[in-house]
Amino acid sequence: MFELTLQALYSGLLTGTYYALVALGLALVFGTMKIINLAHGELVLLAAYVAYTAESQWSLNPLAAIPFAMVVVSVVAIAVYLLIDRIKKDRELNSLILTFGIGIILTNFVLLVWSADIRSTTTPWFQQAVVFGDLLFSSRSEILFFLISVALVGATWWWLSQTWYGRATRAVSSDRKAAMLMGVNPRQTEILSFVVASILATVAGIAIFTGQVIEPSLGHALTVKAFIITVLAGMGSIPGVLLGAILIGVVEALTVTYFSSSLQELTGMVLFLVVLLLRPQGLFGFGVRRG
């Protein structure tokens, strides 16, 4: 039982950091624009499929496909932003429905272009095992993206709190008019946050492509997962995203170990609802809207 629990915690940690990567972009856009981008999961998936094309057609390593995927995803994300920007009334809810529609478009676009077949990397390097002390088992892809994920959460946090652009972004989110008086162009910073979110989504997409299996309908599931984590984190909290994601990952893994794998999604959802209803500010609701 001890070994099982240990591996479950370890697996949960690794899965959690990959969830964090998926959720980070969603949390960032929410933090800066108060908009939930329901097409975020589809953006992640789009990056994964670009990597697939790069690998299968041009024999590129999925990691080498990152810059290319980044451009594609950013262009789409900017288009999403420009559409959201045209909403005049009730932006919070209308943008929810708008991005929901964009999600439907992207899912079907992926289906049209890449067909319904399942895909995953064929580069063996990613799938090889990394074992610690004959107790903790993981794949290279997981270890690699664990490190990348932690680094990116740190970088995003640093960007938001330490750089001028990051502070400008936060200023826009707390008071658009005041930020304009300070010489910040709100549209520019909002586009910037979408682009940063696309970069994060791209890395998440490559993580999924190398570590798991992709199919066109996966995008929606990713969005839901990302939203759950963002809520657990406390909307807008960047370190909270990492903690919330790990919490979900660990709880899911423990559910499999102690109960049944078929209840995995259920526990995630129940955890989400409990937090939402009892602690709407999130479990780690610090660092939100200071000052």
Binding site: D117, T257, S262
Partner: protein
């Protein structure tokens, strides 16, 4: 764009052939399959086989009869499947072939029954389908046939304990429970592990198999993405089992090509070896036509689609010759079927089920899928004990 564009092109081409050969008598045949949604892959696969059967029939009956195939995408939606059946019925189809998923086939064949149309399928294995008393409903495969093959192979291996991982979807849980019953009846220990379709990390589950179950074999009753994810977890955790056995969509050329390393020595149901070694003239004909139409090697989905449609077309021809096609004699003709097909003997009972159906098991060996069970169909020896992660 790939597969389904090709499907449309073929469907279009078949219609065209029908138009060109206008002096021959036209027979309308209908099919509804999922070309989008979760089941798009399998639906497309089945449709490829249906197209082959139609093509061969039209070639063999040139100048006399031309079958025109009407295809409607049911989008894996029962209401749309029902509407599709009704639409094709109003267009004057003589029978229906196809359908994927018991939840789609159920209502669709109900509609066909109301319209007095024969419905033949291989896309849904739910036992309930053949127990509704429909006179015109026929199915060439069933859960028992899959279970029989999986059980037969495991029995041959003389394993004592099996962990079965199954997706909680309808078809997979049905089959998993049947396998459980059958194996337990043979004195083999079974541990069932249900998992939700959205599961992406199987390490905690495989670890349970490895440390707690300590089984001799892993059984997988699931779908392609589950297989890949399970095998990935297996490669990392390396549970000490002697074999990994799955069912449909696994022992295929596609899996061998796309996930080559991952599926080595894994077993799955398969009617044909790969590359297909066709011995009978019919099988050769099938394989060649398939390649001509779709530009690739046939797979099991195409095979089932082909067999069900071929049996239906044979019966249509008999009924037409007997003059009973327009007077409701088709169901009777289909019921008379007793033939050796690419999927073995087919003979329908009074419910329209095919109790003789028994699947075969193939094993990925290098670039090939070798048939290893039953003995009389085997094209090679199984590599046993072996898993994708054994050295």
């Amino acid at each position: 764009m790939g597969e389904y564009l090709k499907t449309i092109a073929i469907a279009g081409a078949i219609t065209l052939i029908g138009v060109v050969g206008a002096h021959a008598e036209d027979i309308l045949l209908g099919t509804h399959v999922p070309l989008t949604g979760k089941l798009a892959r399998v639906g497309t696969g089945m449709h490829e086989g249906i197209a082959v059967a139609v093509d061969i029939f039209n070639r063999d009956n040139k100048g006399r009869y031309t079958v025109k195939l009407i295809t409607i995408n049911d989008e894996t939606n029962p209401a749309k499947a029902v509407a599709a059946v009704e639409k094709m019925s109003s267009q004057g189809v003589v029978a229906l072939t196809g359908g994927y998923g018991s939840n789609i086939i159920g209502p669709a064949s109900e509609a066909a029954n109301k319209a007095g149309l024969v419905y033949i399928t291989s896309g849904g294995v739910a036992p309930g389908l053949t127990q509704r008393g429909h006179k015109g409903f026929f199915r060439i495969n069933n859960t028992q046939g899959y279970s029989r093959a999986m059980m037969g192979l495991l029995k041959d291996m003389k394993v004592k304990k099996v962990s079965i991982l199954y997706n909680t979807k309808e078809a997979t849980s049905d089959l998993a429970k049947t396998v459980d019953k059958d194996l337990s009846g043979q004195g083999i220990d079974v541990v069932l592990h249900a998992f939700d379709g959205g599961t992406s990390d199987f390490k905690p589950l495989i670890n349970k198999v490895k440390l707690r179950d300590k089984s001799d074999a892993i059984g997988m009753v699931a779908y392609e993405n589950d297989y890949v994810a399970i095998l990935k977890a297996g490669k990392v955790l390396k549970p000490n089992v002697k074999a990994v056995v799955g069912v449909w969509s696994l022992a295929t050329s596609k899996m061998n090509g796309e996930f080559h390393d991952l599926v080595q020595t894994v077993y799955g149901t398969s009617m044909l070896p790969y590359p297909a070694e066709f011995t009978s003239p019919e099988a050769k004909d099938f394989a060649e036509t398939y390649k001509k139409l779709h530009g690739k090697e046939p797979d099991y989905l195409g095979q089932f689609g082909y067999v069900q449609t071929k049996l239906l077309l044979d019966a249509i021809l008999r009924a037409r010759k007997a003059g009973t096609l327009s007077t409701g004699g088709l169901a009777q003709e289909v019921r008379k079927t007793d033939s050796d097909t690419l999927i073995g003997q087919v003979k329908f009972n009074e419910n329209g089920d095919n109790p003789l159906f028994s699947h075969r098991m193939g094993q990925h060996q290098g670039e090939k899928v070798v048939l290893v069970w039953p003995e009389n169909a085997a094209t090679g020896d199984k590599q046993f004990p072996s898993t994708p992660w054994s050295e």
